[in-house]
Symmetry: C2
Subunit: 323 residues, 2 copies
């Protein structure tokens, strides 16, 4: 499926999701709406709600899951807001990060507000299984963010530890969005399990690709600063591979570049060349491909259908996206 | 009831709450435990869980509500952590504020973790009514914190607007803790309503007294910096009264003291004298007393009992406490 074709087929779902998003985040405090709007309507892909909607349809749900689905976008937005503060990122989705406009304090609190709204939507749905999945997931997510913080500048981190962090930080939420689709459709445990696994693998592929784009993306296309992870001391898969494989002078050079308190563009370029030399980018790309294959095989447990077709398209798109 | 007598009678409940608190917050990440422990076991009064336990008992619950009750302490601790960052408070409960030890980033994330744990406890209880109350409350709380931030340095704030902020920021959670006791005991709507109102009035009295102690407390006893609210531009009831009543030179002087970017101890003392001159402290104390009376009259709807007696003791203690 070509990208243009995929986007055409999900266009209607995306605009319905957009409508519900707009209707639901409203607070009686205009300031909250202003900050929420900034982060929620900054060109997000709506991947998570879209997955809930399509997974529910894949499981034969009698109605559409739009209303419930947006809780995953609110959770995601809350994380982005707290992340912005934490990372001190200057740019997010091509615009100034929220905390540079409103200050850390406001941004933390609006994050808390969006998080509360997300839980409220799950409660309004009145389904204990959804609440069970969502409440487990938010614990995993906060643990993931903390693990990432603790691993800052950790040049000893292994690929397994890295996968543990991104499972909690990213894959758990995408997995929950997919599993919730099956719960919404009242499906039994193999549907839930298959979609939970699908979401987990897709989430891994998604985050690994994200980390690759942080090295190889083009700032104008990704809307983020390239080399941001490196600057912030986040040791992601391409660098982990290079650190594991390089020895002698190359390893020494890598370590000294990582330890620089103010990394320069030249330093970053040199790191990229060293990662390339040790095949770190290709290794990372292959890992993402493997997870995409695993995700697709989970979908293979379902009979062919339009929603399965779209979910496959989205899964493959993860590998080719440039932002 | 004398303070010592009250403390003796609630001693066992407090140690059971303490046990459950310790058992529940554990994460597999030691760092989270370290930060959580620092904020959770820094001499908090456990007012909120204690209220849940006593309100459940007042409503004739068949078992004790210890396990459920601690969710309100986790929510409270999460708020304290995010508040510490937001206020840049140097001290909290007589010790250095968490963010000065671990940094803003870690503190925000551990706050998120404790918040998630609180929701998880409510989900594990499996009671939709509890989840309904808790999820409404967390929205109110984040709105309250934002309102407080937006009202920073607002010398035009009225007493009604102030009450609106403290309802959301403080009273809503205390109210939820009390109402949850009635839900836990499976009691019908008048019990819920009476305890919801009791908690709301108690919460008002509690926060108003807190704001008074911020002017009149003694640092060694409150464990907080005296004059902190004033330094941070929080315009609370004593100051609101003085601002409403003072005119001419006194008002001008108050406004200029508030606008100073680096308030001095002498400036703070002068503000105290002006508040005293316009009877701001007495007015504030009377308001707290009125709310205590309202809270007690809600308890009066229940027949006499040991738990009612203890709840009355706690309510009266709010007015005499010095920390």
């Amino acid at each position: 499926m070509r990208k243009e074709e995929l986007f055409l087929l999900i266009k209607d779902d995306l605009s319905r999701i957009e409508e519900v998003l707009k209707r639901n985040f409203a607070s009686y405090i205009p300031f909250i709406n202003e900050v929420s709007q900034y982060i929620l309507f900054a060109g997000g892909k709506r991947l998570r709600p879209l997955l809930t909607v399509l997974c529910a349809r894949l499981c034969g749900a009698e109605r559409d899951a739009y209303r419930l689905s947006v809780l995953f976008e609110y959770l995601h937005a809350a994380t982005l807001l707290h992340d912005d503060v934490i990372d001190s990122a200057a740019f997010r989705r091509g615009r100034r990060a929220a905390h540079h406009i409103w200050g850390n304090q406001a941004v933390i609190l609006v994050g808390d507000f969006l998080y509360s709204r997300a839980i409220r939507i799950a409660v309004e749905e009145g389904n204990m299984d959804v609440l069970d999945v969502v409440s487990r997931t938010t614990i995993l997510m906060s643990e993931g963010e903390i693990l990432q913080l603790l691993n800052c500048d950790n040049v000893e981190i292994t690929e397994d530890e890295y996968l543990e962090v991104i499972y909690r930080k990213t894959a758990a939420l995408i997995s929950a969005a997919c599993e919730t689709g099956a719960i919404f459709a009242n499906k039994d445990s193999w549907h839930r399990e298959a979609l939970r696994d699908f979401g987990t693998y897709l989430g891994y592929a998604f985050q690994i690709t994200d980390d690759l784009l942080d090295y190889l993306g083009v700032s104008g296309e990704t809307g983020k600063d390239v080399g941001n992870d490196f600057k912030e001391g986040k040791v992601t898969l391409p660098l982990i591979v290079a650190l594991e494989r390089a020895d002698g002078d190359d390893r020494k050079r890598l370590l000294s570049l990582i330890k620089e308190s103010e990394p320069t563009p030249e330093g970053f370029n040199e790191v990229c060349r060293l990662i390339e030399k040790y095949d770190g980018f290709n290794h990372t790309r292959r890992r993402a491909e493997e997870f995409v294959e695993k995700a697709l095989s989970c979908l293979g447990r379902f009979p062919s259908s339009e929603p399965r077709n779209l979910l496959e398209g989205i899964t493959r798109y993860v590998l080719t996206r440039r932002h």
